[in-house]
Structure formats: C-alpha cells, structure tokens
Assembly symmetry: C2
Homo-oligomer: 247 residues x 2
DNA sequence: TCAAAAGTGTTATAGGTACACCCATGT
DNA sequence: ACATGGGTGTACCTATAACACTTTTGA
C-alpha cells in the first residue's frame, strides 16, 4: 500500500504543533528487540548476539532490528526470531516499549520488546548480518549489555514469569506428549521456586486442558510415567474465563 | 542533546538492510494515545475528543498526539493528560503499542497506549488544539471511534482491571480519607462484580497499607463510617513481594 | 532385590462463602 | 421510633501444605 506522504504532511501541517515543522516528527525509527528464552532440562537461557558494528561494537546485546516501513511490529519480531533460529511457528508476545530520548546514540529510536520461549536443544543459533556471534547465555551470568538492554531483559524476565501462568507459552518447549514431572520442572525453573509433587499433580488433574493419555514412557529404569498432552481447544474455554494457574 | 544525524546514517548504511536505503527507516513517527478513565460514584467513564481535522474529522477518538523528537514517551502521555484536564500529578501507565502498517491513513505512525484513572468530578475537560469537543463517555455507550481506537480502548479496559489489583492506581480517585464502602464500590465498578461486605472488609483488615483512622464521617443520616487512608510507604513492601488483591 | 522416580492417600490448618444480626446516627 | 447504611460474628465448607506411603520399572 503506497503512502501519499506529500498529502499527509500538507494536511498535518495545518495543526502547527507548537511551531515545530512536521518533518521533524517524521525522522524517527522504531526497532523490535527480541528476548528469546531457551529452556532445556531445568535450565533457562537467553539468546544474545555480539554486535558487529557501531554503536556498541563487540558488546553483547538482545537481537533486534529496525522495523521495515511496510512491516507490522509482530512480523518484525517473527522475522528476527526466524533469522537467528530458523523457527517460524513460535508466537511472540509484546511486552513493553522503551522510548527514552537518549537510549540510542545515533538518533531517535524507540524499541518494542518481545518475548518467546523455545526449546534450547532444537536450535543451533545462526549467524546474522548484524551479529558477530550468537550464543545462549545463562540468566545467572549476563554480560554487560548494549543500549538499555539490561533493563529490557529484566522487564522481560518478569513478564515471562507472569505470562507462563496465564498463556500456553510453554507448549513449544515440551514434546507433544510430556510427563507431569517435566511439566512441573519447567514451571519450577521459570518461576524459581519448588512445588510439592502431590499437591502440584492435584492441581493439574483439576484442569481439563491437560489430558492424560493411555500411554507411558518406555525404557526408563524406574516406573514409567503416564504421558499428557495439551488440548488447545479446551484451553480456549479456560482462557475466555480469565484462567491463570494458581501455584 | 543534539543528534548527529549525518554520522548516524552513514554508519548504519554499512549494514545494508536488504538494500532499502536507511532514509526510509527514518520517516516514521510515533504517537501516544491516552485512555483516561474517570470514576465517580459507581460510574466509570472515558474521556474522548471529537476530532477537528482530517483524517477522521468529526469522529470521536482517544486523545493523543505525536511525540516530540526530544520528548520521552511517558512525558508525552503526561502532556496530553495535562492539556485536557490540567492534572499533572497523575501517574500514567503504558499498556501496549499498536503498529499495524495501515492503521494511520497518512503515513507510518505507531502509537503507544497509556491509561490513567482520575476523579471525574474534579475535572472540566478543556478544549485543545486538536479537538472540537472533549467529553466523558460512559463505557457502555461508546460511539464509533477513529483509527483502531476501539481496539485500543478494549485492551485498556482489560488492563485497567488487572492493574487495579496490583497497583495503587486508584489513589487519585478517592479522597485522602475514605470509607471502606467507597473503596469497595470503586472495585465493584471497575471489575464489574459484587462483593460481600463482611468478607471484603476482612480482606482489607488483613492488609497493612490501608490504615484505619481515629476519625469518622460527619453529618450522615446513618451510623458514621470510620475513615481509612492509604499508606504508600507500607505499600512499597507489599509491592516488593509481588502483592495483588485476591478478590 | 535394589535404586529411582511415579503416583496416591491422609491429616491439620487456613481461608473462603454465605449468611444473620447488631450498631450509631439524623430526622 | 424508624430508616439507613456501618460493622461484626459464626458456621460450614473447600482448598492448601506437609508428609508418608505404595507402585512399577530396569538393572
């Protein structure tokens, strides 16, 4: 869809905006920064890139990019994820927009932060055109980050902890058929607390969108665990009523 | 702080960005739209303006404006609130950023939505340079709105309902000394449900940041109600522990 | 038969729900 | 004395936490 920029500016100029020429308003850019959390066996990590260009050359940073003029914000987030991981079916969730005037040394750039949660093991991070290196970092050992990315990361960790209680953001991290122990460990890792096995299972059994299957683990050297699967249709009804886990 | 635009563009151009000239990225603008909720005696309203210029001339819309090149997002939200209501000490909370490519007919403009909650009675909405008229609208009778403002409003209502449980966003809506009945009615109105008086009070009394005073209502034709006040210092400790009301 | 993890059952306590009832004031 | 809302108490029931115990498998 072509934008008639001339018409637009002529019209908006009528408003005058305290005498700042309208052109000054149309010199900004926006970027999307992605906080991609990777989970595998009780370990939670985040994907960082090492910047290959100024500003902040060689600093570690969140993967992000300017949004194309014809690109929706959500699409930009998906593109960045896909560039780095080749994953394309992961829902990304918008968290917050950071817009301090001086946050970017090269101009007025506000950035919209997104989060995603993926299975660490499935992914070999790809090099990208803006990154020297791409690497998983434990959340306990985060290096100094470029821009205001430390602040963004902190916000996003909080948001991950909240979202995991109310949205099935965790489905891409577990196999289609999973054990309740794996499910419990996932929540314990993200929320940084422990649950009593028995009480945790009681709660799960009260929730209809986690369906017990007639199938068990095989070749384990202990009593095989019954497998469960996520029923997204059943979940919709829960969501409509404002469901949140109450662990 | 002056920005060296020339340097910035020269540098970023090295990255090439799939051969789209960097200038194209710096032709966007962003706006802030404010959803100002007004509460008074069991009534929840929202402040809308009637647009005085194209696009969407004469349509009702959320008050909003482009963000100045040297203005922080939060400050822009405060400015808009202040223009319309003369209020300046109301905290505004960022909710979500809306960025569909075609959402603004005159160019690429993404908008960041903010909410605030104010006492309806205190305010005579002021005319502003972008509004023909400014008026409180009941949430039950919202006219057709400009742009994607209906979607924004819906999101913000949900967010108001969530935020009121975890943040003292309601303090500006009650007098400094208030009755528990007034407090209960406020929550009932915002959350659209009713509470049992006795049980509601038991919960309040378990919460230390709502302090009972040695003072009562005067000149009421029924048993005078004891007054309470909000202790923001005590609240900080609750907040640090992730407090939310569990009504 | 042993180790390891799955899975179930029990009990004491806390907290929620739904009421009924009493209280203080102005008219 | 009565209307009006403020304020309290109780009894039932359900949810929760902490813990012990039983079960099933491979080695």
């Amino acid at each position: 869809m072509p934008i008639s920029r001339k018409v637009s500016k002529a019209r908006i100029e009528q408003d005058d905006f305290y005498s700042i020429p309208i052109d000054e308003f149309f010199k900004s850019a926006f970027s999307v920064d992605c906080v991609i959390f990777g989970y595998h066996e009780k370990e939670l990590k985040v994907l960082l890139i090492q910047r290959g260009t100024d500003p902040y050359e060689n600093f570690w940073a969140l993967p992000g990019d300017l949004v194309y003029p014809f690109e929706d914000l959500d699409d930009a987030a998906k593109r960045i994820l896909n560039d780095l991981t080749s994953l394309s079916d992961i829902p990304m969730r918008q968290v917050h927009t950071f817009g301090k005037v001086n946050r970017h040394p090269l101009g007025r750039v506000i950035t919209i932060a997104y989060i995603a949660l993926v299975e660490l093991q499935d992914i070999t991070p790809l090099p990208s055109n803006w990154a020297k290196e791409t690497k998983w970092h434990s959340l306990k050992k985060i290096p100094k980050l470029a821009f205001d990315h430390k602040e963004i990361l902190n916000e996003c960790v909080k948001e991950l902890q909240e979202k995991v209680m109310s949205e099935p953001i965790w489905t891409k991290v577990l196999p289609e058929k999973f054990t309740l122990t794996a499910f419990q460990e996932l929540f314990e890792t993200i929320l940084q607390r422990e649950f009593d096995k028995g009480n945790f299972r009681k709660k799960i059994n009260g929730v209809k969108f986690l369906k017990r299957l007639d199938e068990s683990q095989k070749n384990v050297r202990h009593r095989p665990s019954v497998l469960y699967k996520f029923d997204s249709k059943a979940f919709q009804q829960y969501k409509a009523k404002g469901f949140v886990f109450d662990f």
